[in-house]
Amino acid sequence: MIASLSRRALVGLALLFAGATASHGQEDGPPAPSRATEAEKLAVVANAIDGFIRPGYARFHDHATAAASAMNGLCSEPGDTALQDARDRFATLAASWSRIEFVRFGPVMDDNRLEKILFFPDRRGIALRQIQGILGGEDETATTQQRLADKSVAVQGLGALEFVLHGTDAETLAADRGGFRCIYGRAIARNLSSIAGELDAAWSEDAGIATRLTAPDAADPAWRSAEDSLQEIVGIFIHGLEAIRDLRLRPAMGESAEAAKPNLFLFRRSELALASLRANFAGMNDLFAASKLAGLLPEPQAYLEDSILFEFANAERTLSELAPPLTEVASEPDKRQGLTYLLIVTDSLQSQFAEQVSPILGLSAGFSALDGD
C-alpha cells in the first residue's frame, strides 16, 4: 500500500513538475495561444450552463425540497427510520451542493446566498455558538423559513442542518414529536429549498445570467467579452481546486499526522467529508466533459485533456480507497498517505488549469491582477 502510494505520489509530482516547467519559459517559448473564435468560446460557456450549471442547481433544488420533506416527516412522525431518512436526505443534499459549489459567480453571489447555504470554514466557532444558542434558548424566530432567512448566515444552511441531525443530542429527534430541534431543522431545510429554488429559477430563465454570459456586452460591468465569460468557467476549476486545497484539506491535515486537526474537516459530524470531496471532484470532472473546454486547446496542447482526465481519475480512485471517518484518516500515518496524495493531485490539476489551460486560452490574469492585493 505504502509503496504503491509513494509511486503514485511520485507520478503526481512528476506531472506537477512537468506542468511547472512547461509553463515557465521552456526552450521552445510559450505554447501557441488558442485560435478559438469568440463563437467557439461562447459555445463552451453555453455547454457549461446547459450541461452542468443548470442541471446542477436543479438537482440541488430537488434534493433540498426532498430534505425539507424528510424533516417535515421526522417532526410529525419521529422514529429511528424517519431520522435515518432525514440523515440520508441530508447526505444527498450535501453531495449535490458539493458538486456545484465552486460556481462562484452569478445569482449565488447575491444576498449572501453562498454563505447562507454553507458557512465554512468557521474558524472562530461562531456558528456552533449561535446554533447552540438557538437550540438552548428555543429561539422561536428560528422556526420558520422566512424569519430564519433574516438571521445570521451561520445558522441557516447545511452546517446548521448537519448539527441538528448529527450534533450533540441529535438522537432526541427520533423520539421528540414536534420538538424544537426538529422544527428548527425543518426551517433550515425549507430555507435551503427556498434559496435553491431561487438559484434554479435565475439560471433557468433565458434572459438574465445565462444571456449575460453567453452574449457578453462591453457595457456590462461583469462580462464584457467572450474571454470574461470563459474565464468564469475556467475559474470554477482554478478557484475550486484552490479552495479544496486551502479550505478542505490542508487546515485539517496539518503538517503531519501528529499535527492534524481533524475537527476542521467540513461535515465531520456527519462523516460526509469524504463524500463531499468526491462530489467536488466529480462535479469538476463533469463540468470539464460537459463544457467541451478541451476542444478549445490547439493541437499541440490537446494532450492536456488526457492529462487532466488522468488526474481526475486519480482523485476519484484515491477517494474511493479511503474509508470514513476522515478524521481517523488524517491522524494515522498509513491512511494519511492517501490524503497526501490527493493534495498532490489537487495541486497538479490546479496547476494544469491555472498555468497551462488558462494562458493557452488567453485568460491568464496578469502578474499584477492575479490574486488581488
Binding site: 453571489m109 453562498l114 462591453a218 457595457a219 487546515p251 490574469a365
Partner: protein
C-alpha cells in the same frame, strides 16, 4: 524634467507619504567614488543620467522574486533578491534605506540600499503576525510602521519598529478593523491613516477570504505616537463588500481610496472616493462605461505632486484613470494591460504593469518594457535640487 523641488504649486506630500524625496547627488557624495566605481557600468550610467528613482517589487524571468530600483527612463539601477513575492516599498529619507515588505501572508521584510541593491538586514514579523505588504517611516526616520495581521484574532495592527535599534519591534497599534492594508502618514506628520480592507484571512487557509458576508471595511485615523483612534469611517451598509486597500492623500489632505468589490460580479458599485476625519466617506460617481472598465477592482491609488490630481489603476480592467481631486471629474483615460503600479512623477504619473511596462502616463514618448513582471505598487524616490 519637472522636479518636485521646482514645482510652482505649494503642495508637497509629506516625506513619509508616497512621494519620498531622494537626492541623487547627496547619495553619490555620501557613497564615495569607490562605491560608484563598483556599480555595474550600466547601473552607474543610469544613475548618473536620472533625476528620479522608483522602487517596485517584481518577478524575474527565471521565476524568482526581487525588488528593483529604476530610473524615470525605465533603466534598472539596482535589484535585490527576495525569498518570495514582495509588495510595496518604504523609504527612510534620513538613512537612505529602502524596505520592501513581503506580500501577504508572508513574514519577511528586507532593508536594502536602493542604489547598490545591497541587502542590509532581513526582518521577520513576530510570532502570530504576518506583513500585509505596506509601511512607511516617521519624518525623522526614527520609526518604521508596518501593517500586519494579528491573524488568530483576525485584527489588523501597525507594528512600530525602532530603526536605530536595528529595527527592533517596540510595539503595535490596533487598527480597529481587519485586513489593514496600506497605511500612510498624513501631511501633519502625526496622523496615520489606514485602509482596513475588512476581509478575514488566516495563513492556515492560504489567501482564502473567510468572512465575505460580514465584511466591514473602514478608513481609520490613528495618532502615530499614542496609537489612539482619532476617527474611523465605514462605508454605507449596502457597500460593505467594497474592500478598501489603497489610499493616497491630496492637496486638501483628503484621503482618496480605491475599492475592490467582493460582491456579485454583476454589480457596479462606486469604486473610488475620499475620506476626511470626522466626515462620512465620500464616493465619486463615474460614467457607467468608465466604471465597467475598472472591473470592480482598483489595484493602486496615487496623487500627483501638487495634490491636484488622483490616479487609480485597474489591472483587471487594463485601465488607468486620472481624476481631478477637487471635482472627481475624469481628466484622462489610459489603457495599460495588467497596469497597476502608480507614483507621482514630475507633474504627472509613472505607471508600471505586470507585463514589465514602465510608462509615464499622458506624455511618454518612449515607454520602456523591463524583462520583469512588476508587482502592484511603485514608490517614487524623486531627486531634488
Amino acid at each position: 524634467m519637472a522636479r518636485a523641488g521646482n514645482c510652482p504649486m505649494s503642495f508637497r506630500p509629506h516625506p513619509a507619504s508616497r512621494g519620498i524625496l531622494l537626492d541623487r547627488r547627496r547619495i553619490l557624495a555620501g557613497a564615495g567614488a569607490a562605491f560608484v566605481a563598483g556599480l555595474a557600468v550600466r547601473s552607474a550610467a543610469a544613475l548618473e543620467r536620472t533625476d528620479a528613482l522608483f522602487g517596485a517589487s517584481c518577478r524575474r524571468p527565471d521565476g524568482s522574486y526581487g525588488c528593483a530600483i529604476f530610473s524615470e527612463r525605465g533603466e534598472i539601477v539596482s535589484t535585490v533578491s527576495l525569498p518570495d513575492r514582495g509588495h510595496d516599498v518604504a523609504y527612510d529619507p534620513v538613512r537612505r534605506r529602502a524596505v520592501v515588505f513581503a506580500r501577504r501572508p508572508r513574514t519577511f521584510a528586507l532593508v536594502f540600499d536602493p542604489v547598490s541593491g545591497e541587502t542590509l538586514q532581513t526582518l521577520t514579523s513576530i510570532e502570530g503576525r504576518h506583513f500585509f505588504g505596506h509601511g512607511f517611516f516617521s519624518p525623522d526616520g526614527a520609526l518604521m510602521y508596518a501593517t500586519e495581521n494579528d491573524y488568530d484574532a483576525a485584527h489588523g495592527v501597525i507594528g512600530v519598529y525602532d530603526v536605530a535599534a536595528g529595527y527592533r519591534r517596540i510595539g503595535e497599534f490596533d487598527c480597529h478593523g481587519m485586513d489593514t492594508h496600506e497605511a500612510l502618514l498624513m501631511p501633519d506628520g502625526e496622523t496615520i491613516v489606514v485602509a482596513n480592507g475588512g476581509i478575514e484571512t488566516h495563513p492556515d487557509y492560504g489567501r482564502q477570504k473567510l468572512n465575505l458576508s460580514t465584511m466591514e471595511p473602514s478608513i481609520a485615523f490613528i495618532d502615530r505616537r499614542s496609537g489612539d483612534l482619532l476617527d474611523r469611517q465605514l462605508l454605507p451598509s449596502h457597500l460593505h463588500k467594497l474592500s478598501l486597500h489603497h489610499i493616497a492623500v491630496d492637496a486638501q489632505a483628503r484621503v482618496w481610496f480605491g475599492g475592490q468589490y467582493q460582491g456579485a460580479s454583476g454589480d457596479a458599485p462606486p469604486l473610488v472616493g475620499f475620506a476626511e476625519a470626522g466626515r462620512p466617506l465620500a464616493l465619486t460617481a463615474m460614467p457607467e462605461t468608465d466604471l465597467a472598465g475598472l472591473g470592480n477592482y482598483i489595484g493602486s491609488v496615487a496623487t500627483s505632486r501638487d495634490g491636484a490630481r488622483v490616479a487609480v489603476s485597474s489591472p483587471v480592467g487594463n485601465t488607468m484613470l486620472i481624476l481631478e481631486a477637487a471635482t472627481g471629474d475624469i481628466l484622462s483615460r489610459h489603457a495599460l494591460r495588467d497596469g497597476c503600479g502608480l507614483a507621482p512623477d514630475g507633474l504627472g504619473f509613472m505607471a508600471t504593469s505586470g507585463a514589465g511596462d514602465i510608462v509615464r502616463l499622458e506624455d511618454d514618448d518612449s515607454p520602456t518594457r523591463a524583462d520583469l513582471e512588476w508587482d502592484n505598487h511603485i514608490l517614487a524616490l524623486d531627486a531634488v535640487g
